[in-house]
């Protein structure tokens, strides 16, 4: 679930940090840059593990800061495909379940990856597994919000969220002829901006997967 990733980066240390120990300053700037951020195709960065090598520092003309190449290792949350994780159900909808592991929320379990057969209760907005018990007939096992759930990671998606060329503005509706159209309309909430940079897709359609309470022995 957590991996160590070896990285190399150029660290810029501004003059106001020169009173610090240089290693402390490097650690601080690496943590400011990476902690709690998703790096594309790498995963969710948690914290600096160690610094392996610090190269010479350079000062460029016109800038008082030092620039240093640093080789370091970072702790990254990146579960591998097929890994079993335990999370908590955050919300339910007709499309499936939304699961969180506390520090990472973008886990979805689509409705076709639930235990078979499952049904969605429109009134309570909850999914439940219609388990066919061998002697008692069918039993409804609900998936309550806030309940602990064990799932298998089946897919992961990275979305490049770095700002790109303004092609999104092309799809925007043409400015209305109202009084506000004289100024350039600024999109307040860009729908693509909300897209999660890293999403895990889970599945619970196997023996032993699903709510922890379903599989408690005894």
């Amino acid at each position: 679930m957590f991996v160590l990733v070896q990285m190399k980066d150029t660290v810029r240390i501004s003059p106001h940090l020169f009173h610090l120990d240089s290693m402390d300053a490097i650690r601080e700037s690496l943590n400011v840059k990476f902690a709690n951020k998703v790096v594309y195709n790498v995963g969710l960065c948690i914290a600096l593990w160690d610094i392996e090598k610090v190269e010479d520092s350079y000062i460029f003309p016109g800038d008082g800061a030092t620039h240093t190449n640093v080789h370091f290792r970072y702790v990254v949350f990146r579960p591998f495909v097929d890994e079993i994780l335990v999370g908590r159900i955050k919300s339910c909808s007709k499309d499936g379940l939304h699961v969180s592991v506390g520090f990472f929320d973008d886990i979805v379990i689509p409705s076709d990856s639930l235990q078979h057969p499952s049904k969605f209760n429109e009134q309570e907005q909850l999914w439940s597994w219609e388990y066919e018990a061998p002697d008692e007939g069918s039993v409804d096992l609900p998936m309550d919000i806030g309940g602990d759930i064990r799932f298998r990671v089946v897919d992961e998606t990275f979305v490049d969220t770095t700002p790109s060329c303004p092609d999104d503005t092309l799809s925007m509706p043409p400015p209305s002829s109202g009084p506000s159209s004289s100024t350039n309309p600024v999109p307040v909430s860009d729908p693509t901006a909300k897209k999660a940079p890293y999403t895990l897709v889970g599945s619970i359609s196997e023996m032993g997967l699903g709510m922890l309470s379903w599989w408690k022995p005894g």
Binding site: M1, F2, V3, L4, V5, Q6, M7, K8, D9, T10, D24, R27, E28, N31, V32, A35, N36, K37, V39, N41, V42, I46, A47, L48, W49, H71, R73, V75, R78, F80, D82, E83, I84, V86, V101, G102, F103, R150, R152, E206, M207, G208, L209, W215, K216, P217
Partner: protein, 152 residues
């Protein structure tokens, strides 16, 4: 920025919890200051989450003993890591973690695995675990004493 190796090593939950607790306590790395809100957030949230998982009750000696005991079963590194992270307590969980477990493990071997996990990395309600926790608390108090000494 350049990523040299995306999967340099896998870490167990216990190791990550240890690192984050060190960061929060200012051991090794400095405590997050007011500019490192991201680090402070992720440290807090991850610790809160990991403390509810089995890794909160692990000990280094227990983990190394468990790894040694797991060696003869021919499991892959990822499978061993998951066994340690999740501490399964039933056979069905082992069958999930170990791929094609029906062919690779017999029923007695699965029972053995459950037993050895329970002995080496026990859950929160075991007696020797409590004793170790008390030891840790004493160490923590010792640390606190050192800090006050240094500041005095």
């Amino acid at each position: 920025m350049e990523v040299k190796s995306k999967n340099h090593a896998m870490l167990s939950n216990y190791e990550v919890l240890g690192l984050l607790k060190d960061i929060q306590a200012g051991r090794g790395q400095k405590k997050p200051n007011k500019f490192q809100t991201n680090l402070a957030t992720i440290t807090y949230e991850t610790i809160k989450c990991l403390e509810n998982w089995p890794c909160a009750h692990h000990t280094p000696s227990g983990l190394s003993a468990a790894m040694k005991a797991l060696a003869p079963y021919g499991l892959t590194a990822a499978e061993k890591l998951q066994l340690i992270n999740l501490c399964p307590s039933s056979a069905v969980e082992i069958q999930l973690i170990v791929e094609e477990s029906e062919e690779r493990l017999s029923e007695t071997q699965i029972e053995e695995l459950l037993d050895l996990l329970a002995t080496h990395i026990p859950g929160p309600d075991t007696q020797n675990e409590q004793a170790e926790e008390e030891e840790e608390e004493e160490e923590d108090q010792g640390d606190a004493y050192d800090v006050t000494d240094a500041s005095a």
